[in-house]
């Protein structure tokens, strides 16, 4: 449980960033408190600096929008959710209860990549397969 700040120091429409690893953003969305991982799931931008509208926050860099209740993106370019964290207020102080870190994504091992070259990629056959592998972790052996 990490103390954030006094409730009155986070007025509606405001946000604050916690220097945890990874950093966490805490929002007061019109009276409801939310906490999500601060770094956008798309690229390198801080959601605590985003635009808050209702329970949606828009990323300041490429305008992906996340639903603070679920962490799910509601539009591109983000395609993955951000983690959400539980928030509580104890004696007028906001606290964040960090969710267990998600499993760290590991690159797909070479032996498994052939399975993720999608059947729909056709036409230039082997070329597109090569292409796909170079962006997913195989490739160098070719």
């Amino acid at each position: 449980m990490i103390p954030v700040c006094r409730l009155e120091d986070l007025p509606a429409g405001e946000s604050v960033r916690l220097d945890t690893t990874p950093p966490v953003a805490v929002f007061n969305a019109d009276g409801a408190l939310y906490a999500v991982d601060d770094t956008c799931s798309h690229q390198d931008a801080s959601l605590s600096e985003g635009w808050l509208e209702g329970c949606l926050v828009e990323c300041p860099l490429h305008a992906a929008t996340f639903d603070l209740r679920t962490g799910q993106p509601t539009c591109l370019p983000a395609r993955r959710p951000v983690r959400t964290h539980r928030v509580s207020v104890v004696d007028g102080t906001i606290h964040v209860h960090l969710t267990e870190p998600a499993a760290v994504p590991v690159p797909v091992p070479a032996s498994a990549t052939s399975a993720i070259v999608p059947a729909g990629v056709s036409g230039a056959g082997s070329l597109s397969a090569t292409a796909h592998s170079t962006l997913t972790g195989e490739g160098s052996a070719a």
Partner: protein, 407 residues
């Protein structure tokens, strides 16, 4: 419409394919891409990609995974035929077929032109050690050259890609010089005041910035390793850049960042109007109603933008008009781009008339964090922020609302 062919398998082409499906097109979708890669993101190529951990240097290593713009699941959903590593070489008279360099052609009812732009090159021979930075393959080659110990790097051109590349090279510990022909970097994009700020970013970041001088040529020696270099290079390795004022800058690595030219050569001989880009109306529709153009290659309503955000915004309107077979919607997007240099994030939105004046609205350039607005005839027409995202978003929204209201 039974078949739509998207030519160009990058950012704008992928967004067009997504829009086609999202707007209900359930016919045959063919995507032709000259590069052998599935769509990937270019902006990181001059930023994190160059500076990422050298242990990721292997092709396909961890540094490349975040570049992918799509994944297996989405590729399945799009149900498209991907012709990758294939160049379109022409359109038949009424765009009823897209001709391919492997001799095949795709008979089609509609075409989305999304062929983007290519890095401009210097005339003359192209010795080893000289790079452009547009594609993943370019970035891999540059990164490999930069991994061979401390290098003297000369970046020709002080535009965004030149500045970002210089910043990445300095971060890697190289000795970096940027040569810019204009008196200040980024003059056409940002004007003199903010150009001067960006010149300071270079100097404070440890890059030598030489302005007001062009490049006369490249010096080279026969390289002992020339057999190992790709045959697109003439024999020899670059040794120095000669400036038009006679100065000689010793160089191991040269990055040529002198802009990009739209990829329209394959449309020569068609009835499409081409003038520094494919000429479109305000709705991305070309002179043929069944051909639309999006992204860096498209000149929409007189403007050709080379920005990531326009490449993602134009396809929705273009596809709508393609499926309607006429212009039913026009583009109202506000120009926006960002750039990361020397640890500072620059964001710009709006239109900047040449004689606009700049006012600092928040923060201060000396502290490295500020919001500046461009004013013209008593109105704010554009905004530039450096590490000041919240106030920037507010102005950007106001500008966008006003632009939409004005249409």
């Amino acid at each position: 419409m039974n078949t739509v062919t998207v030519v160009g398998a990058s950012l704008a082409g992928l967004y067009a394919a997504r829009e086609l499906r999202a707007q209900g097109f359930d016919g045959r979708l063919v995507i032709v891409g000259a590069e052998p890669h599935l769509p990937y993101d270019r902006p990181p190529l001059s930023k994190d990609f160059l500076t990422s951990d050298p242990s990721n240097l292997l092709v396909g290593g961890a540094a490349e995974a975040p570049l992918a713009l799509t994944d297996t699941e989405e590729i399945g959903e799009l149900a498209a035929e991907w012709l990758l590593g294939v160049h379109a070489t022409g359109l038949d008279q009424h765009a009823r077929a897209v001709l391919l360099d492997d001799g095949r052609s795709v008979v089609t009812d509609g075409v989305v032109v999304a062929t983007g732009a290519s890095a401009r090159r210097l005339p003359g021979p192209w010795p080893a050690g000289v790079h452009t930075l547009r594609t993943l393959d370019d970035a891999r080659a540059l990164r490999a050259d930069l991994a061979q110990g401390t290098r003297r790097v000369v970046v020709i051109g002080g535009g965004f890609i030149g500045a970002e590349t210089a910043s990445s090279c300095v971060a890697l510990g190289h000795d970096v010089t940027v040569v810019e022909a204009a008196p200040l970097p980024l003059l056409p994009q940002l004007g003199p005041d903010m150009g001067a700020f960006c010149a300071d970013l270079h100097r404070r970041g440890g890059t030598r910035l030489l302005t007001g001088t062009g490049v006369a040529g490249l010096h080279r020696v026969a390289s002992p390793h020339s057999h190992s270099h790709s045959h697109s290079h003439s024999p020899g390795h670059v040794t120095a850049v000669e400036l038009s004022d006679g100065r000689l800058l010793p160089a191991d690595v040269v990055v040529v960042g002198i802009g990009a030219a739209p990829n329209t050569a394959w449309l020569a001989g068609t009835s499409l109007a081409v003038r520094d880009g494919v000429v479109c109306d305000d709705g991305c529709v070309t002179s043929l109603p069944n051909v639309v153009a999006v992204g860096d290659v498209a000149r929409v309503g007189g403007v050709r933008a080379e920005h990531w955000t326009s490449a993602t915004e134009l396809p929705r309107v273009a596809v709508r008009n393609l499926l309607a077979a006429r212009t039913v919607e026009t583009v109202t997007a506000l120009p926006y781009f960002w750039s990361d240099q020397y640890g500072s994030r620059i964001q710009f939105a709006g239109h900047r008339p040449a004689d606009a004046t700049v006012r600092i609205e928040e923060g201060s350039p000396d502290d490295g964090s500020f919001l500046a607005v461009y004013e013209h005839a008593g109105r704010v027409t554009a905004a530039l922020a450096v590490d000041c995202p919240r106030p920037f978003m507010k102005v950007r929204r106001e500008l966008r609302a006003r632009q939409v209201a004005a249409v």
